[in-house]
């Protein structure tokens, strides 16, 4: 029997006190690959079952297929393709992908590489003379934000405005009616509205003025699927802005933290810069920025590991647990940049496989490579560092590092 009710285990994982190291709890959770919760939802934590589900056409990303309504209202906003099923998902993702990667825009990621390197370089230049640096505030946050603003065509000077919205929005995703004030949820709803309005305004300016940024391209391009509707462009831009914000920060910060905890690997990376490529893959497995897909819906009855998940059930996918599954990865709790066959779940899998994965990889590779090359004998100030609230998008809120003076 794979299904048991283990609500305590999930509650312990979601509890903030577990944020610094949820991995032992994941290991316990994996003893029950498909765990039914008291509220009728299902938690899936093992690699095999997660990959099966991520490729299962009966798994829906559309909230309307949940038999129980979602706790927070999404408002009347048009959802982004991340929350849609085929064929609409496929159509919108395809239309957005035309401007973001191969085959139509094969040079996008390689094209921004010089800009990435120079952005990283100038942030590190600013470390000069400081004995203590916050890897998050001084580096890992501003870097991807400048990149996604540049790509989307969002003015960098507006960053303080949408930073507030994105923060409120992210906070509302973790909303727990038992502990959180309702105000938190309302703030999120308002932030969502404000952000959409802001992006809609930018889009207005782009119509019939084709530029190089994604907003302009989406606004003015007629591909085989026709022209994107404004609502869809706003949803897509919204998604890319938030995803470009929140995940890469954690990938870079988790990466630096992991390197500081593994000085031998840090030294190796200094000596062989090419190591950064498999190292970032291993990071995506070992300390991924996205730990959980908090909900998917069973469109039909789904059988996973002999457990029937009834139609309409909410399913929680514990991706970070799957990437540490000892039945899939040898010695999974070891950070090993030489690991082979590293088919981690860091970017998910299947049709919702992370859209920005190739960009995130390059950002992390360049950021970590340069940090390691230029920081002088960096030392972690506090281990573990303080963490952000979210168990879903998990990472340190600050990562203070000392470097040798001069």
């Amino acid at each position: 029997m794979t299904t048991t009710e283990t609500p305590d285990m999930l509650r312990r994982i979601l509890d903030y006190s577990s944020r610094a190291d949820p991995y032992p709890l994941y290991a316990e959770l994996r003893r029950t690959p498909v765990a039914r919760q008291e509220d009728g939802s299902y938690v899936v934590s093992t690699y095999r079952e997660l990959t099966d589900l991520l490729h299962d056409p009966h798994l829906s990303s559309d909230v309307r297929n949940l038999s129980r309504p979602m706790p927070q209202g999404q408002g009347d906003a048009t959802p982004a393709f991340i929350n849609m099923d085929p064929p609409e998902h496929d159509r919108l993702r395809r239309m957005a992908m035309r401007h973001f990667g191969p085959p139509h825009t094969p040079g996008l990621v390689t094209g921004v590489e010089p800009a990435l390197t120079s952005a990283v370089g100038s942030l590190i230049d600013d470390f000069a003379g400081k004995e203590q640096i916050d890897i998050v505030d001084d580096f890992a946050y501003p870097f991807p934000v400048s990149v996604i603003c540049h790509l989307l065509g969002v003015p960098r000077e507006d960053e303080p405005r949408f930073r507030v919205w994105v923060n409120d929005l992210i906070n509302s995703i973790d909303y727990d009616p038992k502990t959180d004030p309702k105000e938190k949820l309302e703030k999120g709803v308002q932030a969502r509205k404000d952000l959409r309005q802001y992006l809609g305004g930018l889009l207005e300016q782009r119509h019939d003025r084709p530029g190089d940024d994604l907003l302009s391209r989406m606004a003015n391009d007629d591909g085989p699927d026709g022209r994107m509707a404004d609502d869809d462009i706003v949803s897509t831009a919204n998604l890319l802005l938030i995803a470009g914000h929140e995940t890469t920060v954690n990938l870079i910060t988790n990466g630096m933290l992991t390197l500081l905890r593994h000085p031998d690997v840090l030294q190796r990376l200094r000596d062989e810069p090419g190591l950064v490529v498999p190292l970032v893959e291993e990071l995506l497995r070992y300390e991924p920025p996205v730990h959980i897909i908090p909900w998917r819906a069973a469109y039909s009855d789904i059988t996973v590991a002999d457990t029937v998940i009834p139609k309409g059930s909410q399913i929680m996918l514990m991706l970070a647990s799957g990437s540490r599954d000892q039945n899939r990865f040898h010695d999974p709790d070891r950070f090993d940049p030489d690991r082979r066959d590293n088919q981690h779940l860091g970017f998910g899998s299947g049709i919702h496989l992370c859209f920005g994965g190739p960009l995130a990889r390059r950002e992390a590779q360049i950021a970590l490579g340069e940090l390691v090359r230029r920081l002088d004998r960096p030392r972690l100030v506090a281990d573990p560092p303080p963490y952000r609230r979210s168990p879903v998008l998990r990472g340190p809120i600050h990562l203070h590092v000392e470097q040798a003076a001069g």
Binding site: D52, H55, P57, P86, P87
Partner: protein, 463 residues
């Protein structure tokens, strides 16, 4: 090699010969070194030059995007082998463990891997096949020649045969805006591989892209001009077309003739082996030291009732080579079976086509996801109520799910609805061309009376 000591000695000092230096041969060589084989390794190939990749030859090379010379297969490790290239093998002696080469050399071995693959089936009239402008596409040189002919701007191209290779070439001609006629004996393109329903989709795609598609017809004659250049083709319905390039895409012939008289179960259908890639003799006995991999191998698949199946798939060549290499240097208890589910892809007319399983092992097919008219769908194949294969058009990310269904013998048609399911997913008969198209006649005859005397001998080869 019965004892562990013998095996260790063989891995250290043994002699392995690989006949066939293409994808399967190269990957096997790499895998042998990866398994710790340090003995002598000899690679025999009839083509000059390093092993190269074939899928681009009917795709990127013909568009001119990639030059034929840039298709060399990447090396995963140094194989430290002796390469005997440009000389075909002409015989295999199981009694003395020797491979004979066309130049008279004899190469001794302790274990041999046969990966001699498939060559293009030529046009059936030699003088017509020799006309300037008549091509097949299997080797680098073929692709290079055809690419040049397409770049010269022919007035019309005739593609004979609308299987995967023919359809891919047709797609590239249209991409280059070259007027094109495709002639296919079956009622639609891809029918032999994917059945009548998918064939209809493929026919729509071709016609929508301006292909003059003629199905149910046979090309009877290729006519040349006084300079020996192809100019006109005649059909069995009495019609003709004028064209200056003809591409013969009628499938392949397995390179097994050199094994005639070897005593191996080798013939037009390939070389029979067990799931461990050990060759069978004509009598159906497993050999100890003769292994087979790639297009030329004909391997039983337990998922498909242990039928012997030969596949001309890239992934099959790689996986079989790795299993064969492992088994060549492993003891009986450590051998691996080759049990992977076949996987195949093609790109044509802007559509990514991918399949898992064996679609020909089916009696029904049903569209389970997407929309056929949009050329974005998944179709599942079933045999007597279980899923045996699936094919996707521009929807490949779902195929892992269908591989799961195949591996778990899931019921067909899949019972549960999905978000993107067409209104009508009723299974229809899969409708492959009758076996008469494929019948080859007898390949062996049995003689003898006593159990100790009963033997099989090869019947004469059929074309």
């Amino acid at each position: 090699m019965t004892s562990a000591d013998n095996l260790q000695a063989f891995k250290r000092d043994g002699r392995i010969v690989i006949v066939g230096a293409s994808l399967a041969g190269l990957r096997a060589a790499e895998a042998l070194r990866g398994e710790g084989f340090t003995g002598s390794l000899t690679m025999i190939g009839d083509e000059l030059g390093e092993p190269y990749d074939r899928p681009p030859l009917s795709k990127q090379v013909l568009t001119g995007w990639v030059s034929a010379g840039d298709t060399t297969l990447p090396r995963r490790r140094d194989v430290n082998a002796e390469w005997l290239l440009g000389v075909p093998a002409t015989g295999l002696d199981l009694a003395t463990n020797i491979v004979r080469l066309a130049d008279g050399r004899e190469i001794p071995f302790d274990r041999v891997l046969i990966s001699t693959g498939v060559r293009a089936r030529p046009w059936f009239v030699e003088s017509e096949a020799a006309l300037d402008g008549v091509f097949v596409v299997r080797t680098r040189e073929h692709a290079e020649g055809l690419q040049r002919a397409l770049a010269a701007g022919p007035s019309r191209v005739l593609v004979i045969g609308a299987g995967f290779t023919g359809s891919e070439i047709a797609s590239i001609c249209r991409e280059r805006d070259i007027p094109l006629t495709v002639a296919e004996l079956a009622p639609a393109p891809l029918v032999g591989a994917l059945g009548a329903m998918i064939g209809e989709v493929a026919a729509d795609m071709q016609r929508a892209h301006g292909v003059d598609l003629r199905c149910g017809v046979k090309v009877t004659q290729l006519e040349g001009d006084a300079q020996g250049h192809f100019r006109r083709a005649h059909f069995d319905d009495g019609s003709t077309i004028d064209a200056d390039v003809a591409v013969v895409a009628l499938g392949g012939i397995r390179n097994t003739e050199w094994l005639r008289g070897s005593g191996l179960a080798a013939g037009v259908w390939g070389i029979a082996c067990d799931t461990g890639c050990r060759a069978l003799t004509l009598n159906g006995l497993i050999t100890d030291d003769i292994f087979v991999a790639g297009d030329v191998a004909r391997c039983p698949n337990p998922i498909y009732e242990y039928r012997l199946i030969s596949l001309e798939h890239w992934a099959n060549a790689v996986e079989q080579a790795e299993v064969a290499a492992h088994n060549m240097v492993s003891g009986q208890a450590d051998r691996w079976p080759h049990l992977s589910i076949p996987l195949f892809w093609s790109i044509q007319f802007g559509v990514n086509i991918k399949s898992v399983g064996v679609p020909t092992f089916a009696d029904e097919v049903a569209v389970t996801q997407g929309s056929v008219s949009d050329h974005r769908f998944v179709a599942a194949y079933g045999y007597r109520g279980r899923v045996t294969a699936a094919v996707s058009f521009n929807n490949a990310k779902w195929l892992d799910h269908y591989r799961n269904l195949i591996e778990t013998a899931a019921p067909f048609p899949p019972p549960c609805p999905t978000p993107d399911q067409p209104a009508d997913m009723k299974p229809v008969p899969v409708d492959f061309p009758g076996p008469t198209l494929l019948a080859q006649g007898a390949t062996v005859v049995v003689t003898g009376h006593d159990p100790g005397e009963r033997r099989v001998t090869a019947a004469q080869y059929h074309r």
